[in-house]
């Protein structure tokens, strides 16, 4: 049981590339912290620094009240689950889980009882004598988890552990990891690029971009109040519609004079002709429809002559707006519609997208 605190952590590679540019994160005891971000944002590097597999250039990493910057991975009291599982191919499942315990000089009887217990929890009991290559992907994943939990470490570290699994298994394992972590109540740090995984697993969500933390907080709070346009477009699928606000009268209509970018989530639109008080209406031409059963995505472009809000060269192609409506009823392609969002559903950001503006 331990807190993990990162204080102004930096990583500069010998070539001069700055992978981590000063990160401050505080993960409370027993919390599940998820680092999420696009590839190359430094999230895996940060995790490997906590594990001790990468050196720390600056700042402090504190695990359970002890600065671990100079401590070997084996002595940090952490366990890690790797993306490709990193099981020892020549050892049986039992030995894979027992290896770390035996290296620490644990008595064989204790090793056996711990491994048996982990195998029981993870439903691996019948496979203890098999080699990793005789297991399916999901089973290997569970052995990797087992190797972590037998150690009873202070902290679990997960490096994209589900990305080698197929979609269905990924969802099942996601739930299992969450249940297991709740039961063991062990502080965990989990790296993923999948925002859905991040949203569903995290107590504390850390959104990273370009070696920096964009926002830290409760996943739903981040979803409802993204701090930057990057977070707004990264969290939530399909992404938030972002439009730069051009005309001054729009700014005054929205009650904010320094806002430069307007964001509206696809699900916050309603197809209607009426403009809600303080809200906005967009005229759209329907370009494409995606029906997924319970909901439908409408891809529209704003008509040129009516364009009062210019396009933002972000996630969406210029002028394109995604609208998410419940059910499978949708307007036909080519039809001109109007969509509206109320004032409370609007997100306003400064012109550079770095700051959120509360009206």
């Amino acid at each position: 049981m331990a807190n993990v605190t990162l204080r102004n952590v930096r990583k500069t590679y010998p070539g001069g590339f700055e992978a981590i540019k000063g990160v401050n994160v505080d993960v409370g005891d027993g919390q599940f912290c998820v680092l999420v971000g696009p590839s190359g944002c430094g999230k895996s590097t940060l995790l490997r620094m906590v594990a001790g597999l990468e050196t720390v250039t600056g700042g402090e990493i504190d695990i359970g009240g002890r600065i671990v910057n100079q401590i070997e991975p084996a002595d940090r009291d952490i366990a890690m689950v790797f993306q490709n599982y990193a099981l020892y191919p020549h050892m049986s499942v039992f030995n894979n889980m027992a290896y770390g315990l035996r290296n620490r000089g644990m008595k064989e009887a204790e090793v056996k009882s711990r491994v048996d217990e982990a195998a029981r929890v993870l439903e691996l009991t019948s496979m203890l004598e098999r080699k990793p290559r005789q297991l399916s992907g999901g089973q290997r994943q569970r052995v990797a988890m087992g190797r972590a939990i037998v150690r009873q470490p202070k902290v679990f570290l997960f490096d994209e552990p589900l990305s080698n699994l197929d979609a269905k298994l990924r969802i099942a394992m996601r739930v299992e990891i969450r249940k297991l972590q709740r039961r063991l109540n062990t502080t965990s740090i989990y790296v993923t690029h999948d925002q859905l995984e991040a949203m569903t697993l995290a107590d504390v969500l850390v959104v990273m971009n370009g070696g920096q933390v964009e926002q830290v907080g409760n996943p739903l709070a981040i979803y409802e109040k993204p701090a930057t346009t990057f977070v707004a477009s990264f969290i939530g699928a399909p992404p938030m519609n972002l439009m730069s606000i051009r005309a001054d009268e729009i700014k005054s209509q929205l009650g904010s004079t320094n806002a430069g970018i307007l964001g509206i989530r696809p699900e916050d639109f309603v197809i209607t002709d009426q403009t809600p008080a303080g809200g906005v209406t967009l005229p759209l031409t329907v370009e494409a429809i995606e029906r997924v059963g319970a909901e439908t995505f409408v891809y529209g472009t704003r008509a040129q002559d009516e364009q009062r809000i210019a396009a933002n060269p972000g996630e969406l192609p210029p002028g394109e707006v995604i609208v998410r409506i419940p059910g499978s009823e949708a307007p036909p392609i080519g039809e001109k519609i109007r969509v509206a969002a109320t004032r409370q559903k609007l997100h306003l950001f400064s012109g550079d997208g770095r700051t959120r503006i509360e009206a």
Partner: protein, 282 residues
């Protein structure tokens, strides 16, 4: 593999049989000659069927040797060759796997220069550096000894490169998992890397054993005592006789005997050997 039908399949088989005949016939002749009477062979009247002197000839070959040229039982020569080949094969594997481990997994000053120096020695086989090597071995008083026979041949750039290539395909995560599991460098080497290299080592052993067994020039140079002769050198000496008939049955029996250990090694290790060459799963 494509299953061929009818005619084409027979053609393939015929070609294979011709190939086998070309390879096997001389071996067969050697065996036949080793069971004949020497006078018969000397007269050019050797039959194509085995003669009746099998036990007699092989007994004399293994335990007595030729009456003139070598003065040494072939059994002893085989022992010398076996010791030399084993020392070379095992020594090469041990040294090269350790140096490859150092080069791949450790960061130390002049790591790459050292690697390149090892690499360059590929261009310097024994034949090229034979004089200095001989001088060193002679100065160290290792002539006519197993150490002298094997040590100069033990360092192997090829095997080092092979293990280096193999180690580089081992995922880094295995090393990292070992570090987190509390295994130091020696434990990682012993518990993880060596077991993973098992098939590679076996494949290499087969190749290196045969290489060592077939050494000719080096043993010829540094062994002067009859009881240190290797079998390859012995065969050559048996053929060249000055004032007597070459004892062909014994020469042929020696040749047949010389073939047996490599064949034995290949047959025993074939499975591992093939796996070592084709295996990709880590």
């Amino acid at each position: 593999m494509v299953e061929e039908e009818g005619f084409r399949r027979y053609v393939a088989h015929i070609i294979l049989w011709i190939g086998i005949a070309i390879v096997a016939f001389p071996v067969y002749i050697a065996f036949v000659a080793s069971t004949q009477d020497n006078a018969l062979i000397a007269n050019g009247q050797m039959s194509l069927l085995p003669g009746g002197h099998f036990f007699e000839v092989y007994y004399q070959t293994i335990f007595v040797g030729t009456s003139g040229s070598t003065r040494e039982p072939v059994g002893n020569m085989m022992l010398n060759s076996l010791v030399m080949a084993l020392l070379i094969a095992v020594g090469k594997i041990a040294i090269s796997i350790i140096s490859a481990y150092a080069i791949v997994y450790f960061r130390f000053p002049f790591r790459m220069p050292i690697f390149w120096i090892i690499f360059i020695t590929l261009m310097l086989p024994v034949e090229v550096r034979i004089y200095p090597t001989y001088k060193i071995v002679a100065d160290l008083h290792m002539l006519d000894s197993y150490a002298g026979l094997s040590l100069p041949l033990i360092a192997s750039a090829t095997a080092t490169l092979l293990f280096r290539q193999f180690f580089m395909t081992v995922p880094d995560e295995l090393l990292e998992a070992s570090r987190i599991d509390g295994a130091g460098p020696l434990r990682f080497f012993w518990d993880t890397l060596l077991p993973l290299s098992r098939t590679n080592m076996a494949a290499l052993f087969v190749i290196l054993f045969i290489l060592g067994w077939n050494q000719y020039l080096w043993p010829l140079l540094i062994t002067t005592r009859d009881d240190m002769q290797t079998i390859q050198v012995g065969i050559r000496k048996m053929i060249t006789t000055t004032d007597a008939l070459t004892e062909w049955p014994i020469v042929m029996a020696t040749a047949v005997l010389a073939m047996l250990p490599p064949v034995f090694v290949v047959v025993v290790m074939q499975k591992l050997f093939v796996r070592g060459l084709v295996e990709t799963e880590k």
